[in-house]
């Protein structure tokens, strides 16, 4: 996906998942040079993915509607511990003005820590003026919650600009 302008009031601007595809994960997905706005839940949700690049996008105005949504600019959140979050790169985006976190890696599902959650990169993004509402359950510029079972995962967040 490239050079898209997605807006209005979608539930998510873009959802990446393996639901119904026979593999239970999606793979080799890229979202680049696009503007994503107006979502009620998240601008980008990824629940099960192997190979995802999110680069040079502008992600704004996630609304948290109805209240209590993650309301993140980017939410990497397996539905259960067996769904992978592998080889995910979030680079060079501008993420601002969202009701919840700018980026959320929610890697501990209700049934335990993720079996595969590694090679996750967050670098060179501008993340400012997020967590604007009190109603989302987690509020920050970047939320890192949980991780690969046993602490074996490899993730990095560096070189961001902004203050949340």
């Amino acid at each position: 996906m490239s050079h898209l302008d997605i807006g209005g009031a979608p539930k998510d601007d873009v959802t990446i998942s393996g639901r119904g595809n026979g593999n239970s994960y999606a793979g080799d997905v890229s979202i680049v040079d696009s503007t994503l706005s107006g979502a009620s839940r998240n601008a980008i949700s990824a629940t099960a993915v192997i190979g995802l690049r999110i680069e040079r996008n502008t992600i704004v105005g996630v609304r948290d509607s109805p209240p209590g949504q993650p309301a993140a600019g980017i939410d990497i959140e397996p539905d259960d511990r067996g769904q992978p979050a592998l080889d995910v790169h979030i680079v060079g985006n501008t993420i601002r003005g969202n009701a919840g976190p700018g980026v959320m890696l929610e890697l501990e599902s209700n049934d335990g820590p993720a079996v595969v959650a590694t090679n996750l990169e967050i670098s060179g993004n501008t993340i400012v003026e997020n967590a604007l509402k009190r109603s989302p359950p987690k509020r920050a510029g970047i939320v890192l919650a949980g991780g690969q079972d046993g602490g074996q995962g490899d993730s990095g967040a560096e070189g961001q600009h902004g203050a949340g």
Binding site: M1, S2, H3, L4, D5, I6, G7, G8, A9, P10, K11, D12, D13, V14, T15, I16, S17, G18, R19, G20, N21, G22, N23, S24, A26, G27, D28, V29, L36, G38, I50, G51
Partner: protein
């Protein structure tokens, strides 16, 4: 979108959601999966694999308020 190596592009077209599309898939536990996005990228029947090599570019996509719809739902698989 269910065919391998499909490209959707334009010089700036705008596509507006009208609501849910047909149910062609079901989840593992039997829940119906409707085409709930302006671009719903998945297989079109359970006997087929998910598509690979799909490209969507240079478009404006709008979901009006009041619809439980997504802009893009991608369940593409990895190229082998």
């Amino acid at each position: 979108m269910s065919h391998d190596r499909t490209t959707i592009t334009s010089d700036g077209a705008c596509i507006v959601s009208l609501g849910l599309g047909p149910v062609r898939l079901h989840s593992i536990d039997g829940d119906p999966i409707a085409a709930s996005a302006v671009f719903f990228v998945n297989r079109s029947k359970p006997s087929q694999p998910a598509p690979v090599g799909v490209t969507i570019s240079n478009l404006k996509i709008v979901v009006p308020d009041g619809q439980s719809m997504y802009g893009v739902r991608s369940s593409v698989t990895r190229s082998l």
